[in-house]
């Protein structure tokens, strides 16, 4: 298999998808343009802003730095997917109640990134500190909030999931 056009099959949000893609298409563009899953957004397209964060085989990844063709055979999850399964319903609700988003453009990436921290924290029995939350989110750019409200919301969910509050 070598060429500029490839047939790929992958699972997106639990659904098997088969498409033909150009090698140069990133998974972020593939999700947006081929599948209409525009919750994965493009902020910088050079791997700095974190807006295009998706999960590939269970771990968060910059969608602008992975090719669609590389995702053949993988399990890709987007903000739409984790919304529909209810996996992050508590986190979304905390963001809403704490106004932890303004324009909302960074929010899908921010939520997926926070969810990874929360899941790992839960698995290890820890409640992350505000500093640990800030550090974990340090690769996700938000111009609107100044981050404080986001840290509040993530901290609240971490405590709630640990049964503390």
């Amino acid at each position: 298999m070598s060429g500029q056009i490839h047939d790929i099959t992958l699972t997106v949000n639990g659904q098997e998808i088969s498409e033909t893609v150009a090698a140069r298409v990133t998974i972020a563009d593939f999700l947006r343009d081929n599948l209409g899953l525009t919750g994965t957004r493009l902020g910088c397209e050079h791997g700095v802003c974190g807006t295009c964060t998706v999960r590939i085989d269970g771990v968060i990844t910059r969608g602008c730095l992975v090719l669609a063709v590389q995702c053949a055979g993988t399990r890709v999850e987007t903000i739409e997917g984790v919304s529909d399964t209810g996996e992050i319903a508590d986190l979304q609700d905390a963001f809403r109640r704490r106004n932890a988003l303004q324009c909302g453009f960074c929010t899908p990436g921010m939520l997926l990134t926070a969810q990874e921290l929360l899941t790992r924290a839960k698995d290890s029995g820890n409640v992350p500190s505000r500093e640990a939350i800030r550090e974990h989110l340090s690769g996700n750019y938000c111009r609107c909030t100044g981050y404080h409200a986001i840290v509040d919301a993530v901290e609240a969910v971490a405590q709630a999931r640990a049964g503390e509050k």
């Binding site: 500029q4 397209e45 050079h46 968060i60 910059r62 992975v66 590389q70 690769g139």
Partner: protein, 282 residues
Amino acid sequence: MKPAAFAYAKARSLDHAVELLGQHDDDAKLLAGGQSLMASLNMRLSNPSILIDINGIAGLNVIAARNDQVEIGALVRHAQAERSPDIARHAPLIALAMPHIAHPAIRNRGTIGGSLAYADPAAELPACLVALDGEADIAGPQGKRSVKAADFFKGMFETALGPQEILAGIRVPAATGQTRVGFSELARRHGDYAIVGLAASARATGKRLSDVRLVYFGVGTAPTRARNAETAIAADAIDDAVAALAQDIDPPGDLQASGEVKLHLAGVLLRRIAKQLAEPRP
């Protein structure tokens, strides 16, 4: 901002990857984690005719401690290394460096081999490899060969890898009870490339340090050893060590800081690292 068109091939094995490289000369690029390559493709700063994806090659994502060495496969992801008990125990310098490298989503995807083969002079891992006196294992048309870290990094984004060669993995000596390591860097924001950074290792006999290796990054075209400072540290002369840096490194200025400031900061880091080296590992 979309990449120019290129072809894509998935290598089944190291031999297959070498073969594919041979078919495409200089026009091919290896794709590992892609965390630097993809950004430069998106910006059209690089226009290869084909990407050879090595992610599917079996056996390159292994971390193993054997024969007093730690072997780290080229496809080991940063996140995997960050959480590896073997690395924490046997290659503590790499464990120290790991949280400073970019951000979680990047570390989930980026590979140890990719970082080293890219040879960014401001990156953490090349300096760690030199500080640990590790070796790079390379696969190529003539088979396998190994290169000492000091000979692997040739310059800005330049390594000893030939056009058809692939970095298969690295080996570093496993830490012993006498091993001391230190790592520190100064980056404006968490996860940024550092203005200047220092990776260090030494052997401790009682309070005496020997085999001191101080390797700076962000101060030139490649990881840079501060040999005069190493001698002074071994002699427990920290002020002399800091003074010796002016002979050891000559950092050019960049957007972040002037060369003069980098040299000053290198001295600050050296004092911090000297304290780390003086403390036994927990």
